[in-house]
């Protein structure tokens, strides 16, 4: 099947709010999950006959469960501050990709069924029935939101738009209308242990090959241990790090950091995935079940520290939810959570991000670098949305911005920032987050990447930037795919620990 033909947005010198193009993305629709994929997660196999009734009931259930959802659905005053903040709106011009319009697809049904005014005078208050067309719009446009929360940042009421998208996805799953990419992958995590479906034997073979590569490159025996009980650190990293480029170069970087610092570490074949797509589909049950694999592995291996590799949404899940879900961090109070809290070394942050580990070692002088090894690179940093707006690093506010940058400055001589308003907490999504990194949404992904591409082009033109570092597997895969559409070389994208890997001194 040939790639669909579409016009790639023209990159401008400064951001321009697009002219509205009604229904421009009405044809963009990810594949629907098959019955076996849905049923494996406990969802109805296909769209149920009484979907309207069940969807409204599910919305009612979510309103009871999450007070926040009710507040967000009630609070919007349609001020319009969010309208031009979404990368998908900026890239496509489709008015339904304005965050307020996307939210209103759910809000209008909420008003019809759950507010007195909407029940009595629907037309006066913008309340709408849940028709088949509306359900279709939910499926299309909630699958055109990457849950990046950039719009939320500009909302004067602090409405968490991603939570509305997650609620909509949860309702769609509850009526048997889930999305293939996310649901197939979650099934693989339960069956095999990771998003990729990489079985333990293949993982072991891949790691062995990487050890040979590092030996050939450096002459040093750097290990990538698997399932080694008694290791100090359990590294949880996205399975893409084992499989794809440029991801694998960061995995090599983590291994070199642990080697140079003399830290005994291991990967786990059971918890061979940092990603947790349970968050993308808004399913607390799936979020928990996927996270518990990490706890099982940590208890079995008896590790003292849990470190998370370069994965954006995984870090949000780890930083914000692992504590109560699993006991990694304080808050979980079931027996296994308590056992794990006792087992982990509380002198370290649990969990820690690999960037925190590396940065801490750099500050203590435990790592040495030949920075000129990166002199062929002029580097910029793309903040990943879930790290930037969903978590923190280190001990000070803004650590999630400063720590990756400090690492880059420690290992490379040439660093350039992209334009303010496109980085830090205002960063633009890569265009592939939230469970949208699938081929049939390529047009959306290419167009949604345009605000980031615009900012990148500015620094490429003005400062010769030729490397955009990031700390997210989705960002890496997405940019590898879309950079060529904007006449950039796909090898411009890479990981922070890829830069570390290039410059680090081993066995000195």
């Amino acid at each position: 099947m040939a790639a669909p033909e579409f016009a790639v947005p023209e990159l401008k010198e400064y951001p321009v709010i697009p002219i509205l193009k009604a229904d421009a993305m009405a044809a963009a629709k990810p594949y629907v999950a098959s019955a076996p994929m849905n049923e494996a997660l406990g969802f109805p196999g296909e769209l149920v006959a009484d979907w309207e009734e069940r969807a409204v009931a599910k919305l009612g259930e979510l309103l009871q469960k999450y007070r926040s959802l009710k507040v967000y659905l009630d609070a919007c005053v349609h001020c319009g501050a969010c309208t031009d903040k979404c990368h998908y709106f900026l890239g496509t011009g489709d008015p339904k990709n304005m965050p307020v319009a996307r939210q209103d697809l759910l809000r209008s049904v909420y008003r019809r069924h759950f507010t007195p005014a909407g029940k009595l005078f629907p037309k006066l208050v913008g309340a709408k029935d849940l028709t088949r067309d509306m359900l279709e719009d939910w499926y299309k446009y909630y699958n055109q939101c990457s849950e990046c929360r950039r719009c939320s940042l500009f909302c004067p009421y602090g409405i968490d738009t991603a939570e509305i998208t997650m609620a909509a996805k949860e309702i769609l799953d509850a009526v048997g209308y889930g999305q293939k990419y996310t649901n197939e992958i979650i099934g693989k995590v339960h069956r095999v242990g990771n998003n990729l479906g990489l079985p333990p034997a293949a993982l072991a073979d891949t790691l062995e090959g990487l050890e040979e590569d590092i030996k050939a490159d450096t002459g040093v025996d750097v290990r990538l241990p698997l399932d080694e009980a008694g290791a100090e650190v359990l590294l949880i990293t996205p399975s893409a790090d084992f499989f794809a480029e440029p991801h694998v170069d960061s995995l090599v970087g983590y291994a070199k950091v642990f080697h140079a610092a003399g830290i005994r570490w291991t990967l786990s074949s059971k918890a061979s995935e940092a990603g947790n797509f349970g968050m993308f589909i808004g399913s607390y049950d799936q979020l928990r079940r996927i996270a518990l694999r990490v706890r099982e592995a940590a208890l079995e291996l008896g590790v003292k520290r849990i470190v998370v590799g370069e994965c954006g949404h995984a870090w949000r899940v780890a930083y914000s939810f692992w504590n109560t879900l699993t006991g990694i961090g304080a808050g979980g109070n079931d027996p296994f959570a308590l056992q794990l809290q006792k087992q982990l070394d509380q002198r370290y942050k649990q969990p820690s991000h690999i960037c925190e580990v590396t940065y801490d070692l750099i500050r203590r002088g435990a790592l040495k670098f030949d920075k000129e090894a990166n002199d062929h690179r002029i580097v910029t940093f793309h903040d990943s949305c879930n790290v930037a707006r969903g978590s923190r690093m280190g001990d000070a506010p803004g650590g999630q911005f400063e720590i990756p940058r400090a690492i880059i400055r420690a290992v490379a001589n040439h660093y350039v920032e992209m334009a303010p308003g496109t980085t830090h907490e205002q960063t633009f999504c890569c265009g592939g987050g939230g469970g949208l990194l699938t081929d049939e949404l390529l047009e959306l992904r290419v167009k949604g990447a345009s605000p980031r591409m615009e900012a990148l082009k500015q620094v490429a033109d003005s400062d010769g930037v030729n490397f955009m570092a990031t700390i997210c597997a989705i960002c890496k895969a997405q940019f590898t795919k879309v950079l060529p559409y904007y006449h950039f070389d796909r090898s411009m994208i890479g990981g922070v620990h890829q830069l570390v890997s290039t410059a680090i001194r081993l066995g000195a």
């Binding site: 099947m1 479906g197 079985p199 090959g209 990487l210 893409a240 794809a244 990603g275 081929d439």
Partner: protein, 110 residues
């Protein structure tokens, strides 16, 4: 969905990947390659055959690094890189080559 090759019908998923791995044959591979606008040369076959061998052993396609190393050994070190694989399979070596080799699509953040 389905494809028809030499009068026989083979089931595929929405994206054109074979549903039953046992349906694969060189004719089917050539047919899928033509749909993908890929002209199969002996070097393409080296990649496809390696993918299939690896899959038979490990039930998954090889990591890109494993593949580039193997191809470098077979076709020469100058070809042992993902740049060369993209020349052979422009839509991306992992996905497009897997489709032609009759293997499932690699999923996840790849």
């Amino acid at each position: 969905m389905a494809i028809e090759v030499n009068g026989k019908t083979y089931e595929t998923d929405e994206e054109g990947y074979l549903v039953n791995l046992g349906d694969w044959s060189e004719e089917v591979a050539n047919f899928i390659a033509r749909q993908e606008n890929v002209e199969m040369t002996p070097n393409h076959w080296e990649v496809v055959n390696f993918l299939r061998d690896y899959y038979n052993e490990f039930q998954i396609a090889p990591a890109v690094r494993v593949l580039t190393k193997a191809i470098g050994k077979k076709l020469g070190p100058e070809k042992g890189n993902s740049q060369y694989l993209y020349e052979l399979f422009p839509y991306g070596p992992a996905k497009q080559a897997c489709k032609i080799a009759g293997l499932p699509k690699p999923t996840g953040c790849v």
